[in-house]
């Protein structure tokens, strides 16, 4: 009987994946844990390991197909998978000696135990023999990894990512493999697929790698379902420019990374969301859900396409903390090494289109989020500044911020409230503001 290879579940809220590329073909022999196929979920690609050793007999999901988690994607003649290894019986000697006595006592049927002394039939006593053997507590499969103790989450993640825990170096007490160890071991699995480009008569069809395909479907859905509304605001960022310039060298010495404007804006977005919770929502089917955690997504152009890694709990981090986090995320995004956790749970997306020279934009909301903010190019402009001496013209660094919002959830008043708070936060930064 052929053994059916299923697409494994890889995480909460991930319900389907795109088959990227088969690494084996029918008739080929594979060992257990050999990579079978590359799949892409939520813009992260991963290899599905073979659940058994044997011969691949049939491939049922073709490259490019979208398949639900748990679906059968191939069949194989397996040598070892379906057989459950025998389980050694647990030592029973002491227990059976004690079982000679009824240590629980016996409940008497038909006894006068009702509140008024009347008889009532206690049906709970009728099938008490089931519980007496105690054999059912035995595990249905042996503990893996040569007797090393594995916590439940480690076993689960190891299975999910197709990692043999015994091959992982443990950093826990006594060399125990921890959750962090397994996650680190699984992080290296993100291969980047390159598809051949075919051409005919001068037209060149663009390679549709899975990231591009998912992005296309996602953008179309966002545009189809979300009634977009837009608002934009001008911000005087002269203070932020000074602050960055003043702190840049010290920051590089301290953290080894370049201080960009991104952490300032992520910080201001997160703090503004604290006061304007309605923008920290996601649309789930037919209603919006106010999200407790403030997780700011950052749109990043990677070589495979647009990806949006997430700074989780951005409201609890300072500018420096955000800088360190975003620097790591952007690097991983550009290298195609993002993990699922890096891209999940975003509640609002920030898109720094200013880096591309844009001064005004209408971004498409990242479904199921309900708002996206773009920060535009910083431009020196003459502006009217009011001071004690009246109005005067000054050269200031100005930046536009444009907000697209889901009008089912957010009205103009709330959108403006958020933008005003964002503006206030950014304009409160000056050369002497601490970057920490």
């Amino acid at each position: 009987m052929p053994y059916q290879v299923e697409l494994p579940h890889v995480g909460e809220s991930v319900i389907e994946a795109v088959i990227e590329k088969w690494l084996v073909e029918p008739g080929q022999r594979v060992e257990k844990y050999d990579p079978l196929v590359e799949v892409v979920t939520d813009k992260v690609s991963m290899e599905v390991p073979s659940p058994a050793s044997g011969m691949i007999t049939k491939i049922m999901a073709t490259a490019g197909e979208t398949v639900p988690m748990g679906a059968v994607i191939a069949e194989m003649d397996a040598e070892d998978a379906p057989a459950q290894p025998a389980v050694a019986p647990a030592p029973q000697a002491e227990a059976s000696a004690l079982n000679q006595f009824d240590r629980i006592g016996t409940l008497v049927q038909d006894a006068n135990v009702g509140p008024t002394g009347g008889v009532f039939e206690d049906t709970s006593l009728q099938s008490k023999r089931d519980a007496e053997t105690g054999d059912e507590a035995q595990p249905s499969r042996p503990a893996p990894s040569q007797g090393r103790r594995l916590s439940p989450v480690v076993m689960r993640l190891a299975e999910q990512h197709g990692i043999d825990p015994s091959s992982v170096k443990g950093t826990g007490r006594g060399g125990r493999v921890t959750k962090a160890d397994i996650l680190a071991a699984s992080a290296g699995a993100g291969a980047s697929p390159v598809l051949p480009v075919s051409s005919r008569s001068g037209d060149v069809p663009l390679a549709q790698n899975a990231v591009k395909k998912l992005t296309a479907a996602h953008m179309a859905r966002s545009w189809r379902e979300i009634p977009h509304a837009w608002s934009a605001i001008e911000i005087d960022v002269t203070g932020m420019v000074h602050c960055r310039r003043k702190n840049r060298d010290a920051f590089r010495d301290l953290y080894g990374i370049d201080l960009t404007y991104l952490p300032f804006t992520v910080w201001a977005v997160a703090q503004s969301l604290v006061e304007n919770r309605l923008l920290n929502t996601t649309w789930e089917g037919d209603a919006a859900i106010l999200r407790a955690r403030i997780n700011v997504g950052i749109a990043v152009a990677s070589k495979e396409g647009l990806v949006v890694p997430v700074v989780h709990d951005a409201d609890s981090r300072g500018i420096a903390g955000i800088a360190v986090k975003t620097s790591a995320l952007v690097t991983r995004a550009r290298d195609g090494r993002l993990e699922l956790a890096d891209v999940q749970g975003g509640t609002l997306t920030l898109n720094n289109t200013g880096a591309l020279g844009s001064v005004l934009g209408g971004a498409i909301i990242n479904h199921p989020q309900t708002a996206i903010l773009t920060t535009e190019k910083i431009v020196k402009r003459p502006v009217v500044v009011s001071s004690g001496n009246g109005d005067e013209i000054a050269v200031r660094s100005m930046m536009n911020a444009c907000l697209s919002f889901d009008h089912r959830v957010i009205d103009g008043a709330e959108a403006s409230g958020f933008l005003q708070e964002f503006k206030r936060r950014i304009e409160s930064i000056d050369a002497n503001s601490p970057v920490e």
């Binding site: 439940p152 989450v153 689960r156 007490r173 959750k179 609890s316």
Partner: protein, 328 residues
């Protein structure tokens, strides 16, 4: 916003509700002319009169029984048990009667009443002024049990409790009364009963706690973050029944480790239930055993200051437990 301590928050909540709703009244020992042994109702008898601020004999069973009778007839009583240690004579009225009023009358009557209970130790109260009484109450279906730790929560939750149509036991930790100050809105507002709150974010483990122990846990979490780089999430249960398992489970599934901190003794306690829920519904996310910090399983809170300190969980004991769990 106003700054107030927990005691002032309790007083504020009661005063606002007494002014809003004439069916709200109070009864308890020394709550009138004396203003309550902790002065929670200081000035109330002058403002609301002896008909609505009723001094009772030392008879807890009667205090709760009278409150129950008034409640099923449409009044909104606030009964004060002077110290949690003295609630036991009232247990039949609470557990045997009030908790079952709805069911026992086939839903025709409801017992919307609040029983305020100053409880907890660390106040040199010894045997008779230090007990934690929450376990048996939280065990009882039909009751709601609220245990706030901050002025904001105390005020918002007490107003919710007074307006609730079911009997609510409101546990006020005596040590937090004047120890914990914080901001709260000046006017009336409600906090939902049955909702826990994450008071500190972290990814390395989840601390589940309530009452005074929230503050000790937050101190401990701040210190291990500083010295060891361990980021513990701290959940304030706020309500012990119904328990907000959703918030606890969401957090534990994320952090994969759970530490329960409570001032009550360990056996068959609120922490036991939290541990059971985690084992049942987050087992495959756990990366370590569910641990507890509690006092030893002994009957008294000792009177001797040295022994009391040894008995009570403290920030340093919580820090050790966090370090041990993090290192597993």
């Amino acid at each position: 916003m106003a700054t107030m301590n927990v005691l002032e928050a309790v007083r504020d909540a009661m005063r606002l509700e007494m002014r809003r709703d004439p069916s709200v009244f109070m009864l308890g020992e020394d709550i009138g002319a004396r203003g309550g042994v902790f002065l929670a109702s200081d000035g109330f008898v002058e403002e609301f009169g002896e008909d609505r601020v009723i001094d009772t004999p030392l008879a807890e069973s009667s205090i709760v029984g009278i409150a129950l009778g008034a409640a099923v007839n449409g009044m909104r009583p606030i009964a004060e048990i002077q110290f949690g240690d003295f609630i036991w004579p009232a247990m039949n009225q609470l557990v045997g009667e009030a908790a079952r009023a709805r069911y026992g009358t086939a839903g025709k009557r409801q017992a919307g009443m609040v029983v305020r209970v100053p409880h907890g130790g660390g106040v040199r109260g010894g045997l008779y002024h230090s007990q934690s009484v929450e376990a048996v109450l939280a065990h009882t279906p039909g009751l709601k049990v609220v245990a706030p730790a901050t002025p904001y929560d105390a005020k918002g939750l007490l107003i919710s409790a007074i307006r609730d149509d079911d009997p609510v036991v409101f546990l006020e930790h005596k040590r937090t009364y004047r120890l914990v100050r914080g901001e709260a809105p000046e006017g009336s507002y409600t906090e939902p009963i049955g909702r826990a709150e994450i008071k500190r974010r972290g990814e390395d483990m989840t601390i589940v706690t309530y009452g005074l122990m929230l503050h000790y846990s937050l101190q401990a979490a701040a210190q291990v973050a500083e010295q060891d780089g361990i980021e513990a999430e701290v959940i304030d249960l706020r309500t012990l029944r119904p328990l907000d398992t959703e918030t606890v489970l969401e957090s534990v599934r994320r952090t994969s480790k759970a530490l329960i901190v409570q001032e009550d003794t360990p056996v068959a306690s609120v922490g036991s239930e939290v541990a059971a829920v985690i084992a049942d519904q987050a087992f495959f996310r756990l990366d370590g055993p569910v641990r507890r910090v509690t006092p030893p399983d002994l009957p008294p809170m000792p009177y001797s200051p040295l022994q009391e300190a040894e008995y009570m969980p403290s920030p340093i004991k919580i820090i050790r437990a966090i370090q041990q769990l993090a290192a597993i």
